[in-house]
């Protein structure tokens, strides 16, 4: 269907939908829709500008499935309650952005900057967050099943009551992070840095913990049944014996 036909059909449908309305701005709306559809560009921020919308305030609760704003600056933007399934936000600047309760399933956020971002209650199942910067971010009550956080920086992040079942967490930096009551079942944390992290109530059942740095991180109160340890800085002999007693497997 040509753009002209799409616009005609769209305006027909909207005319019917707003048939009882008598606002002059209706014509302005149709004009803006036409400008967006006929725009030469597909750049998200440029289209937002053409539409007269605010890139920081107009997208909360919206359907943003499959959108792309790689490398765009959307710091402090509101995406709360939005659908961002399969969206591409690679290397985007998203510091202090609000993604609370958003659905980002299968989205691409590799190397995105998410410092102090709010991802509370978000669905991040199978999201690529490799190399992302999540320093000070809030991910409490988030669904992070099968997420890829390899090489991500999550220092001082709050990831409480979250589900990271099967997550890839190779070399992730989690110093001073709060991971209490989160689920790391079958996750791979090889070479992760958990120095000073709060692990109270965390569940590492069946997780791979080779070369994980546990300096100043207490595993008291964490579940370690079937977790695989090896070459772990910060695990004393005493602690090792105690972890083995609780079902941990040491391979060194």
């Amino acid at each position: 269907m040509s753009d002209d036909r799409v616009i005609r059909r769209l305006i027909e449908l909207l005319q019917r939908r707003f048939s009882n309305e008598d606002f002059q701005s209706k014509e302005k709306l149709f004009e803006l829709i036409e400008q967006v559809i006929l725009a030469e560009t597909d750049d998200f921020l440029e289209l937002t500008r053409i539409a007269g919308l605010s890139p920081l305030e107009s997208y909360g609760g919206q359907n943003l499935i499959g959108v792309s704003f790689d490398r765009k600056d959307l710091a402090r933007a509101d995406f709360s309650n939005s659908l961002l399934i399969r969206a591409s936000l690679i290397e985007a600047e998203l510091s202090s952005a609000n993604f609370s309760n958003a659905d980002l399933t299968h989205a691409f956020l590799a190397r995105a900057k998410l410092t102090s971002a709010n991802l509370v209650g978000a669905n991040l199942t199978s999201v690529d967050l490799s190399g992302a910067d999540l320093t000070n971010a809030s991910l409490n009550n988030a669904i992070l099943k099968m997420v890829d956080l390899s090489d991500a920086h999550c220092r001082c992040a709050s990831i409480r009551f979250s589900d990271l079942t099967g997550a890839a967490l190779h070399r992730v930096r989690l110093e001073e992070a709060n991971l209490s009551s989160s689920n790391f079942r079958r996750a791979n944390l090889s070479r992760a840095n958990l120095q000073g992290a709060n692990l109270f109530g965390a569940d590492f059942t069946g997780a791979t913990l080779y070369r994980v740095n546990f300096h100043d991180a207490s595993l008291d109160g964490a579940t370690v049944e079937g977790a695989h340890f090896s070459d772990n800085p910060g695990v004393s002999r005493e602690m090792r014996r105690e972890l083995i007693r609780r079902g941990a497997v040491f391979e060194d």
């Binding site: 909207l14 701005s25 829709i33 967006v36 919206q62």
Partner: protein, 75 residues
């Protein structure tokens, strides 16, 4: 610049078929669901994801502002 109404009510409203006005007989005057779904299908099948998202946000922002203007005029 258009801004979507950030009230809880509007955040939870789906994009299509969300405008019901009680008729004088107490029945709902819900616009035909097939029209709402045709609008959704038209947007998703003919536009890029970026253009579709912006057009939908634009309609949403316009509807939110229209409600606000309507309330201001009638209160």
């Amino acid at each position: 610049m258009l801004h979507a109404d950030r009230s809880e009510k509007n955040l939870r409203e789906p994009f299509c078929g969300s405008h019901e006005k009680p008729s004088s007989f107490g029945f709902s005057n819900k616009p035909a669901l097939n029209e709402a779904s045709e609008l959704e299908t038209l947007l998703s099948q003919t536009l890029s994801p970026n253009k579709r998202a912006v057009v939908q946000a634009l309609i949403h922002a316009w509807e939110s502002n229209r409600h606000r203007v309507h309330l201001e005029h009638t209160s």
